[in-house]
């Protein structure tokens, strides 16, 4: 396979994604026709809404910020062939670490304060992710089961901590005290709510890209993901590798959680597992665990979410309509067979043409 051929493969991936997107939007439109009063205009609002105002477009990037972290956290593990579902649990409990730093520790410096919160949150995430990682490396436990269980455990522990240690005395709902002003992440531009967090997400993406494609660690992850037996035979020690990538994944998830809270929240208000983890997982799958497509997918999903939100304000259609798009996209893109015959036909045609 020459380089040209690789580009062709990539091209096919792009075409496949676009067709999947069209089908997903088509299905959404059909659902809109069945439910909305004015389906066509609702549909147009959903598709173009985010571009109509700078604030809306900024909303897209804001939504994208935590998703980049969770998607990368999933992608690193998935690429190594480890189907870990624990990112959402880590995302939840690390939010409490951030909350603790943001409400209980006063650091009178608005750079240092969020930095401490984010760093501690990331480290905590990494350490907590080591638990399923160690169970996997040592006892070869089923990572799907262990991480699902841990998600529940983290939720339980987290709620306990929230209610016993961090709960606000001034309001009646279950939420933490207000975050200190010094802990909040500064805005990137005036006029939008976009914070330094978005910049951090881009940095994280670049670092993960370099790690996966340029370093020996990335090589080990790729080889292990493609054939674990082969990796073992080649002398790539699975134990330390599994622990390391779990730490990295948890670290990313922890930072994501912290960035989300310190950018867009005044207090910790989650009382159940948020959808950031599961959406991140979908995005990782859509992007085939590669950084660049993952970033595009993160943007695309955020765009649709904001589009749907704008639509829901002017129509009766609920925001949840985007779930249809997300689910359809994942099903179609992750399918090995979808559109395969077209590609084969094309290859055949070329074969005859060149002959």
């Amino acid at each position: 396979m020459s380089k040209v051929k690789i580009n062709e493969e990539r091209m096919f991936g792009v075409i496949k994604t676009l067709v999947a997107l069209l089908i997903a939007l088509g299905i959404t439109f059909v659902v809109l026709c069945l439910t909305a009063e004015d389906p066509l205009s609702s549909f147009i609002i959903m598709l173009t809404g985010p571009l109509t105002k700078l604030r809306y477009f900024s909303n897209v990037l804001e939504t994208m910020t935590p998703l980049v972290f969770t998607a990368l956290a999933c992608a690193v593990l998935f690429r190594a062939g480890i189907f870990n579902l624990g990112v959402e649990g880590i995302f939840f409990i690390c939010g409490l670490v951030t909350t603790y730093v943001a409400t209980k520790i006063s650091i009178d410096n608005n750079i240092l304060h969020p930095f401490v919160a984010i760093a501690l949150s990331g480290i905590m995430g990494g350490l907590l992710m080591l638990i399923p990682g160690w169970l996997k490396a040592k006892f070869d436990t089923n990572i799907v089961v262990s991480t699902l269980m841990l998600n529940s455990i983290y939720l339980g522990i987290g709620l306990y901590i929230l209610k016993e240690r961090l709960i606000a005395s001034d309001i009646s709902t279950t939420a933490s005290e207000l975050f200190m002003e010094s802990s909040k992440l500064p805005y990137l531009f005036s006029g939008t709510r976009l914070t330094v967090g978005f910049f951090l997400a881009l940095v994280a993406a670049v670092l993960v890209y370099i790690m996966m494609n340029k370093t020996r660690l990335g090589y080990k992850i790729r080889i292990s993901g493609q054939n674990a037996e082969f990796a073992k035979y080649s002398g790539i020690a699975a134990f330390s590798l599994i622990l390391l990538i779990h730490f990295i994944s948890g670290f990313l998830a922890g930072i994501g959680s912290s960035v989300e809270l310190l950018s867009f929240y005044d207090r910790f208000t989650w009382t159940k597992i948020s959808t950031h983890g599961s959406t991140g997982m979908l995005i990782a799958m859509m992007g085939n665990n590669r950084v660049v497509p993952v970033m595009i997918a993160a943007f695309g999903i955020s765009y649709l979410k904001i589009g749907a939100e704008i639509m829901s304000r002017s129509t009766v259609v609920p925001v949840e309509i985007t779930s249809i798009v997300e689910a359809t996209l994942v099903l179609l893109i992750s399918s090995q067979y979808f559109l395969r015959h077209i590609r084969e036909k094309r290859l055949l045609k070329e074969g005859i043409a060149n002959g």
Binding site: F230, G235, G351, G355
Partner: protein, 519 residues
């Protein structure tokens, strides 16, 4: 002069990726002959057959069938023209009966369009009797042996009135007895006027049954011969395109300063019920190939895996150049100079979905010459990969080709290239030439001898007795997890004697076996 039934004229086939599978091939097939097509893996035999069978269309050239120019647009048209094909892998539905498998796609039906099962059974039985292809037509495919399934495949083509039957590597799944039966059946079909096109790389089988033999090499026809015109060696050389070594021993050079490299002492591996490996002791010196003969499944695999560090052992000592390694990691053992060509190429030896350049460095990915301070050096990796590709004549389009897309022989060359690129002092070669073509096999064997000549110790495990005997300096025989014989004077050993040790009928005394340790 016999009647020509099918003729290929100047067939050329170019695939989309620019690979020329067939170049200007002309062959004529006569009525009532067994005509073999031989060639290495990837020589273009399969493509040619696909063209005859209508699955591929030729880029150039024409096909003359019974005097008329034809162009099949799909296998259906070829079938209607009386051409049948039995694929290497059975195309049968295991849960259905023989009858159902034979009639599928061409069912006899009654007026209401319902399958007339009675008629189907009757016709199938008649067919089976007429052609002496005995098989119980009502039994299910999954209950049949490989030989019987083959009969069903042939019946399937005959049911569709095939006059020309293409058999693609038909004996690869058969036992020797089943193979003999198949040949008898083919002779009968031939007498009845059918034309058999037999594709194989097993040359003695080809010699045994063919009337004429056509040799294909790298997509080109190297001639069609009457069976008695060519002998086995000539045929093999035509296929490979050069002189073959008649003996490997002349390649061997004496190595001075022989030191002990690998020493295995009292190695045991046991599960709850029994010892899988029992009291295995041997030693290999530098410049020596120690062969392990034995019927597959007598502990050879477990032994190599234990030495390589990817399989378990219960007790015992393994030393490499005097250093104990049985507790070391795979990586440490490799750093000390151990290399390993595993038997399970696809499962262990490569990552099929990963590109060649990733595969060819896996056992030394962190070595300084292909790494910078922080990052892997892509340029150096490409250089290394390209060097190995040309040195080992690996046929691939580029270093980015997924290894799974290469032929078996080329894939194995990737493994051997990687494993020798660390300058090993000890090479574990487990079934290094299993299932690969003549040319690649010879090359890999030569490589093992070169390693030996450079002073490495080679442990060769092979199910191919000839390979073991022709390459090894000494041989141990394994039976039931134990060493049953150690043979150092190979000239005086007959395969018959070896057979007795391999089947556990004879066993050497423990004193004789001590020689394996040079004691």
């Amino acid at each position: 002069m016999k009647e020509t039934i099918l003729e290929l004229r100047n067939i050329t086939k170019v695939y989309h990726n620019g690979v020329v599978a067939n170049r200007d091939i002309s062959i004529s097939f006569e009525k009532g002959e067994i005509h073999s097509i031989v060639g290495e893996n990837g020589a273009g035999k399969s493509t040619l057959m696909k063209i005859i069978y209508g699955i591929e269309s030729p880029s150039e050239g024409e096909i003359i069938h019974k005097g008329e120019k034809v162009k099949f647009r799909g296998s259906m048209e070829a079938i209607h023209a009386g051409i049948g094909m039995v694929h290497q892998h059975f195309m049968l539905i295991p849960t259905m009966s023989v009858v159902e498998n034979i009639i599928v796609g061409d069912e006899p039906s009654n007026i209401r369009g319902i399958v007339d099962y009675k008629e189907a059974v009757k016709r199938t039985r008649e067919l089976s009797e007429h052609y002496h292809l005995d098989v119980d037509v009502l039994s299910k495919i999954e209950d049949l042996s490989a030989g019987e399934k083959q009969k069903v495949e042939i019946l399937k083509t005959l049911y569709r009135n095939a006059e020309i039957i293409i058999l693609d590597e038909p004996t690869s799944v058969l036992t020797p007895q089943e193979t003999e039966t198949l040949f008898e059946e083919l002779f009968k079909l031939k007498e009845m006027g059918h034309t058999i096109i037999f594709i194989s790389h097993k040359l003695n089988e080809v010699k045994r049954i063919s009337d004429r033999i056509t040799v294909i090499r790298s997509g080109e026809c190297k001639g069609t011969f009457e069976n008695d015109e060519v002998d086995l060696l000539q045929l093999a050389e035509l296929i490979v395109g050069r002189k073959l070594l008649s003996s490997y021993s002349e390649l061997k050079k004496d190595v001075d300063d022989k030191k002990e490299i690998l020493r295995v002492e009292k190695l045991y591996l046991s599960n709850k019920e029994k010892n899988i490996l029992e009291n295995i002791s041997f030693s290999i010196r530098s410049g020596e190939i120690l062969g392990i003969a034995g019927v597959q499944g007598n502990g050879q695999s477990e032994l190599v895996r234990a030495i390589a560090g990817i399989g378990p052992m219960s007790s015992g000592e393994i030393s490499l150049s005097g250093q104990r390694i049985e507790k070391l990691s795979v990586k440490k053992r490799r750093e000390l100079g151990l290399s390993y060509i595993p038997e399970d190429r696809l499962g262990v030896g490569v990552a099929t979905t990963a590109p060649l350049c990733d595969n060819i460095i896996s056992s030394y990915y962190d070595r300084a010459d292909i790494n910078g301070h922080f990052f892997m050096d892509r340029r150096k990796i490409s250089e290394t990969a390209n060097n190995l590709i040309s040195k080992f004549t690996i046929r691939t389009n580029s270093i980015y080709t997924a290894v799974g897309d290469l032929s078996g022989g080329n894939m194995q060359k990737v493994v051997v290239a990687r494993e020798s690129n660390t300058d090993p002092i000890c090479m574990l070669a487990e079934q290094p030439t299993q299932g690969i073509d003549i040319g690649s096999s010879e090359y890999i064997r030569t490589q093992l001898i070169e390693m030996r000549n450079r002073g490495a110790a080679v442990l060769l495990i092979s199910a191919d007795l000839e390979e073991v005997l022709s390459l090894s300096d000494r041989v141990i025989v394994m039976y039931n997890g134990m060493i049953s014989a150690h043979l150092s004077n190979l000239d005086k050993i007959s395969t018959n004697d070896l057979g007795l040790y391999m089947l556990g009928i004879r066993k050497q005394t423990s004193d004789e076996l001590k020689e394996a340790l040079y004691e």
